[in-house]
Structure formats: structure tokens, C-alpha cells
């Protein structure tokens, strides 16, 4: 006679606090937002409109123009971060992990410090550095005879977004560097020694041995960058204001959502359309993460040591 397995209460008991807190502060608000996007307030009465708000967002030229502009800017913001931040981060990590480098700890700290600064400080400091009136950027360029290269970048619709993206790179370069540095350190010495025995050293050792071993970490860094960039808001709000000027050239999904949801100046807030934009942002991030999880991560080869 089979003995009934005892109910394992402890699993539920141990999970409960985390599940309760997570449900209250994350899952419930998420579904509340999704729900909010299905309604519209007309004459103080709330009506269910199904996907009507989404139809407005994509169909009404006044909404869709801003939405596509924000999405385009956001994509550019992400591309700059991917193309500049991550390769440099990998390069810095490779340099840091070199056993011949002196003062590695000092460099590591100095490069990582901006990451823990508040967005507000970073935004204000860079605004001051780049200010044509009081900034040190024009003077520094003058000192090396390149003053004519200086332009009021943050006020120029062609350069403002790229400038902001590079500021963001400056701030967050420490994260890929640290993650990849850790991955590089975890490569066993035997593997490196074996490579050396086979005559693979220096740069080719990095490309042929180390890089394949840290690819999973690069994947994680990329997905973190993707999520972080499509959720970005703070830096642009601080540096360029909620209108994300000049002429909406730095407007990304986060600032577009903020203006719509909370309103701005004479524009009254519209929580329903705001929730609609938030839902679309959620969908974009979800799609990106799924693409990575099912399309890339499963194909990455992992090595067990």
C-alpha cells in the first residue's frame, strides 16, 4: 500500500511572502495598467472601448506621428548603446583582466562609479560640461585647437539624441565591463594554459578562446541594455525636459508616456492613453526578450568546466 506523500506545506509558506509582495507591487499594477488601456473617459463616464485606444494610437496621425517618432528615437538610442557601450565594455574588461595591468582596482572603481550616480546628477553635470556659456567642453576643445568642432549639441535636433545616448553610455559602461570582467575571471587557468601550449596567445587567444566562453555574458548584457533602453526616461527628462526637445528629437517612449499619462503644462493627463502607451512598451520589451530567449540563448553553446 503506497504511503501518501505528506503535503509539503513549507514550500508554500516560504514562497508566500515573496509572491505576496511581488503580486502587490508588480503583477497587480501590470494587469491594472493593461486593464486601464481598454477604457476611455468620455464626459466623466468610463466606457469600455476594447482596443479602441490602440486604434487611436496607431491610426490617428496626431498620435501615431509622435509614437513612431518616439519608437524611432528609442531604437537609435538603443543602437548607439549597443554599438558603443558594449564593445568598449568588453574591451575594458579584457584590459582589466590582463595580469600585467597595474592599478587595475583603481581603474575598475573609477569606471564603475558613474553607474551608481543618480540620473539627475549625471544629466546636470553633462548639461553644464556641454554648455556653450559656462561649460568646459568648448575650452577643452580650444586648448587642443578644435574649438570649431564645438556645437551646442544638446540644442541641435541632429545631434541631441546621439549626445544623450553617449552620455548614457558614459554612465553605464561599468555594467557590461563588470559582468564581462567576472566572466573572464571565471575562465579556468587550465583552459588558458592549454591554449598557450597550442601556441594561441595574445589577441588571437582573446578571439578564439575567451570570446566564445563569455558569449553568454554578452547575451545577458545585451538583453539588459535592451530592457534598460526601452524603459529609459530619467536622463532625457533631466537633460531635455518632458517635451524632449529640440522639436521632439530626443523624445523616446518613456518621455512620450510621461507627457501623456501625467500631462504637461496646459496638457491635462490622460491615464487611459498613457496606459495604452505603457502596454505597447511592455509588448515591445516582451517581444525583444522572447526573441532573445528562444532565438538566441538556446543556441548559445555553453561550456562546463
Amino acid at each position: 500500500m503506497a504511503e501518501r506523500r505528506p503535503v509539503r506545506w513549507h514550500i508554500g509558506v516560504f514562497l508566500a511572502p515573496a509572491v505576496a509582495v511581488y503580486t502587490a507591487v508588480m503583477i497587480f499594477p501590470l494587469f491594472a495598467t493593461l486593464d486601464l488601456s481598454l477604457y476611455r473617459v468620455v464626459d466623466k463616464a468610463t466606457h469600455f472601448v476594447g482596443l479602441g485606444n490602440f486604434a487611436t494610437l496607431f491610426g490617428d496621425p496626431h498620435w501615431s506621428e509622435h509614437f513612431w517618432n518616439a519608437l524611432k528615437n528609442n531604437t537609435w538610442f538603443f543602437l548607439i548603446n549597443m554599438a558603443v557601450q558594449n564593445p568598449i565594455g568588453i574591451g575594458l574588461a579584457a584590459l582589466l583582466s590582463s595580469p600585467r595591468l597595474r592599478f587595475a582596482a583603481a581603474y575598475r572603481t573609477a569606471i564603475f562609479v558613474p553607474t551608481i550616480l543618480s540620473f539627475v546628477i549625471v544629466g546636470f553635470v553633462w548639461k553644464l560640461i556641454l554648455s556653450p556659456l559656462w561649460g568646459i567642453a568648448p575650452d577643452l576643445l580650444k586648448a587642443v585647437g578644435l574649438r570649431h568642432f564645438f556645437a551646442p549639441w544638446l540644442g541641435d535636433p541632429h545631434y541631441a539624441l546621439t549626445t544623450i545616448a553617449l552620455i548614457s553610455v558614459w554612465q553605464f559602461i561599468g555594467i557590461p565591463m563588470m559582468l564581462i570582467y567576472a566572466a573572464l575571471l571565471s575562465i579556468p587557468d587550465e583552459v588558458i594554459e592549454a591554449a598557450e601550449m597550442d601556441g594561441i596567445t595574445g589577441i588571437s587567444q582573446f578571439w578564439k578562446i575567451k570570446l566564445p566562453l563569455i558569449l553568454p555574458s554578452i547575451g545577458i548584457v545585451s538583453i539588459l541594455t535592451f530592457v534598460g533602453n526601452f524603459n529609459a526616461f530619467d536622463l532625457i527628462y533631466v537633460a531635455q525636459g518632458a517635451l524632449a526637445g529640440p522639436d521632439y528629437s530626443t523624445d523616446i517612449l518613456g518621455t512620450f508616456l510621461y507627457r501623456t499619462f501625467f500631462g504637461f503644462q496646459l496638457q491635462l493627463g490622460d491615464p487611459n492613453m498613457g496606459a495604452t502607451i505603457a502596454t505597447v512598451m511592455f509588448a515591445i520589451i516582451l517581444a525583444g526578450v522572447c526573441l532573445y530567449l528562444f532565438g538566441i540563448q538556446r543556441r548559445l553553446r555553453r561550456y562546463q568546466f
Partner: protein
């Protein structure tokens, strides 16, 4: 910040205990946290001297948080007895929700003109829900020492204005115009809506847009953009990235000659600048034209419909509607001008100069504020971007006007 907060906390606790005594305590909600000391040291003592049975607590919050904070306090029933009213739609929405009391029958309201009351009335003008307190006037503040040094006089017409700018630029010791386009709103508020009323004839043009009989693409609405586009060569190097505080500092440090201004700058400028300042109204398109000024209603005071101390609050509110209060307030906060229809003597010379334009010019207000910014896309926001674009040279005046008209017509029936 923490200090203000603990002060607030302390005053609320005090307010709670004081209610047990014979005196009634009323609380004022406001976003004017810059004025906290003025209220505590000048205005409230003046009131309490004549009304010993009423204690007044001024409880401001940060300007950017005010609307959201006030709305949630009103919904939760924890808001103060008196509410400082933003002009137009923000307060109108509170009145429609029944959170601001109807003040239409107050006798003191007769002290105010229709234009002064318009910002706190229903669209049909039948109900008034806030007692007007102050307006701000737009114009140009100039560095009088610089003007004397360069031998130029305040311009009366646009031609003289540009001739002066050219002279200042040639001399080279001052930046002619202290304004940037980075924050965008100055381009619209201190640029387009400052000089514009002279072209669209103030209230006449503003009402015509609301009625739909004029369009934003008509010449009188495009011309100010064309004038604005000519400002760019006279603004500082890299003005595209110059922020609002940058411009303020540039002017008060004596680096610039002319500052396109709102009167709220006066007290700050007088504290910072160590040179003499003067002011001139927007220069006229042609000599002999009627002059118009933007005399923008800025704040008023209303009664929280759910207040527990309505009687005491009404006593204070009636006092706000008197000439005594107007004189006290206008002098305590130079640059915020009383809206009352009675003569008020302002001591501050710069503020007095700007106030005197009310006699010589016809007042109007920013055209985007009443009714026209109710829809999506929002006209005020669009005007910020358009004005900055025109100065930056990234959009022609005609294209900017055409886009604004298209935006407005997309939701505003009379313009369709």
C-alpha cells in the same frame, strides 16, 4: 526641502490643536513656495491683527507637484480650506468636479474687471469660482548701464529694436539678447506671445481664434514668427543649448543687454544684478500703432467646497478681494501685479514701470491658455516647439504656423 517639510508638519500639528480653542485655523494650499516667508512675515500677520480669532497657515508645495498633489488631497478630503487657483482649465476642472465652491455672489468680485475674472470663470462667464489675486506682465528688461554706455535708448518700434540690437552686437561687449531655445518655453512665452499681441491686436485676435473667424496662418499670426526668426543672430553663441537659468544668469551677471521677460523675474533680478535695470513694452510694428501687452492672469484664490471652516475662510477670501490686500500683496511680491480695478500704489520702480503699461497699452493674455489647449495635440506644447524651431531656423515661420493651425483644427470645431 526637509526644513520646509518639517515646518509644514509642525504647522499642521499646531493647526490640529489650535482648533480646540476659540480660534479657527484655516490652511491655504499654494504652489508659491518661493513666497513662504512673505506670507508668514507680512501677509498673514496683517490679516491676523484685524482678525484675532482666525489663524492662517500657508502650506505651499513645489510648483511642479502642485496640480497632482492638490488633486489627490481634494479627492482624499485632506486639502486646505483655501485653494490657490491656477488659471483656466486646471481650476475649471476642479469647479466642475464640485471641489471648488461657486463664489459668483461675492460682493468683492465687483472690484474686478471681466478680463481679470475670465481665467476663473466657466466658459459662459456665469460662474466665478476664484478671487483673482495677481497677474504677470510680459515685456523686455534691459541693462540700463549698458544702454547708457552704448548711447542707445529703449526702442519704441521693431525697427528701432533691431537697430539697437545691431549696435550692441557691433560693440561686442554685451550679448544683445539673453534668451536660449533649449527649454523651448521662453521662445513661446517670452518670444511669440510677448511680441505677438501687437500684431493680432490683443483680445480681438485672441477671441477671433477662439471663435474661428481668424486662422493661425493669417498674416497677423505669421508675422510675429518672422520677427522672432530675426532674433537668432543677436542671441548668445550656442543659444540652442542655452537653458532658462543660463539666460537669467547671463543677464544678471551683466553679460547681456536685453532680456525678454516676464514680470515675475523682477524680485530675483533686483537681488542678483548690481546694475540699473529698466523695462520697455514689446516694440510696435509701426510707429503710432496701438500697443498691446500680455497681462497674464497668474493666480487666484478659491474655497474648498469641503472645507470645515467655511465662515473663517470666507472672511479671509473677502479680505483678498480688497484694495488693502492688493496693495500689501503687490508690494510684498513686486512683479505679481494686483488685478483689482482700483488704484494700487506699487513702490518698486521696475515693477511700477511695467505696471504703468496698463494705462498706455491694451491688455490681453496668452492666447493658448483659454479653451484652445484643451485637446490633443496640445496647442501650448506645440507652440513651444514651433517657436523654438523658428528661432533655431529648423522650420520656416509659414511652416510653423501651418502646423499649429493643422494641430488646432484637428480637434477644435470652430477652426474646422
Amino acid at each position: 526641502m526637509t526644513k520646509t517639510f518639517s515646518l509644514l508638519l509642525a504647522s499642521t500639528v499646531l493647526a490640529g490643536t489650535a482648533a480646540w480653542g476659540a480660534t479657527t485655523t484655516i490652511t491655504i494650499e499654494s504652489w508659491r513656495n518661493d513666497d513662504l516667508t512673505v506670507w508668514q512675515q507680512k501677509i498673514i500677520p496683517a490679516f491676523e491683527k484685524t482678525h484675532p480669532d482666525i489663524k492662517v497657515v500657508f502650506a505651499p508645495s513645489a510648483p511642479t507637484e502642485y496640480n497632482a498633489a492638490l488633486n489627490s488631497k481634494l479627492d482624499a478630503g485632506t486639502a486646505g480650506d483655501l485653494i490657490t487657483c491656477r488659471p483656466f482649465d486646471a481650476s475649471l476642472a476642479l469647479f466642475k468636479k464640485g471641489q471648488l465652491a461657486d463664489l459668483s455672489d461675492l460682493p468683492e468680485l465687483k472690484n474686478f474687471s471681466d478680463v481679470a475674472k475670465a481665467a476663473w470663470q466657466t466658459d459662459d462667464g456665469k460662474h466665478t469660482f476664484c478671487m483673482p489675486m495677481a497677474s504677470v506682465i510680459h515685456g523686455f528688461i534691459y541693462n540700463a548701464d549698458a544702454f547708457t554706455k552704448l548711447g542707445i535708448t529703449p526702442p519704441k518700434t521693431q525697427d528701432e529694436f533691431f537697430a539697437d540690437l545691431e549696435k550692441i552686437k557691433k560693440d561686442g561687449s554685451y550679448v544683445p539678447l539673453a534668451m536660449g531655445t533649449h527649454d523651448q518655453w521662453e521662445a513661446a512665452t517670452m518670444g511669440y506671445e510677448n511680441i505677438g499681441p501687437d500684431y493680432w491686436k490683443g483680445e480681438e485676435g485672441r477671441k477671433a481664434i477662439i471663435a474661428g473667424s481668424e486662422k493661425l496662418t493669417d498674416p497677423q499670426w505669421v508675422e510675429p514668427f518672422k520677427v522672432l526668426a530675426k532674433w537668432a543672430p543677436y542671441m548668445g553663441d550656442g543659444f540652442q543649448a542655452q537653458t532658462y537659468p543660463d539666460s537669467q544668469n547671463m543677464f544678471t551677471l551683466g553679460r547681456a543687454a536685453i532680456y525678454p521677460a516676464g514680470s515675475w523675474e523682477i524680485s530675483g533680478f533686483e537681488k542678483q544684478a548690481d546694475f540699473k535695470m529698466g523695462a520697455f513694452p514689446p516694440p510696435l510694428p509701426k510707429a503710432g500703432d496701438t500697443c498691446y501687452i500680455s497681462d497674464q492672469p497668474d493666480h487666484a484664490m478659491g474655497l474648498n467646497a469641503a472645507s470645515k471652516h467655511k465662515e473663517a475662510a470666507m472672511v479671509f477670501l473677502n479680505w483678498v478681494g480688497t484694495a488693502d490686500f492688493a496693495t500689501l500683496y503687490g508690494n510684498a511680491l513686486p512683479g505679481f501685479f494686483p488685478l483689482i480695478d482700483k488704484p494700487v500704489k506699487i513702490e518698486d520702480p521696475l515693477a511700477n514701470e511695467m505696471l504703468s503699461w496698463r494705462q498706455s497699452c491694451k491688455p490681453t493674455m496668452r492666447y493658448t491658455y483659454q479653451i484652445l489647449s484643451r485637446g490633443t495635440p496640445n496647442l501650448e506644447n506645440a507652440l513651444w516647439a514651433a517657436s523654438a524651431n523658428v528661432i533655431n531656423g529648423t522650420q520656416t515661420p509659414e511652416a510653423a504656423a501651418a502646423e499649429l493651425q493643422k494641430d488646432l483644427a484637428s480637434w477644435y470645431k470652430p477652426q474646422q
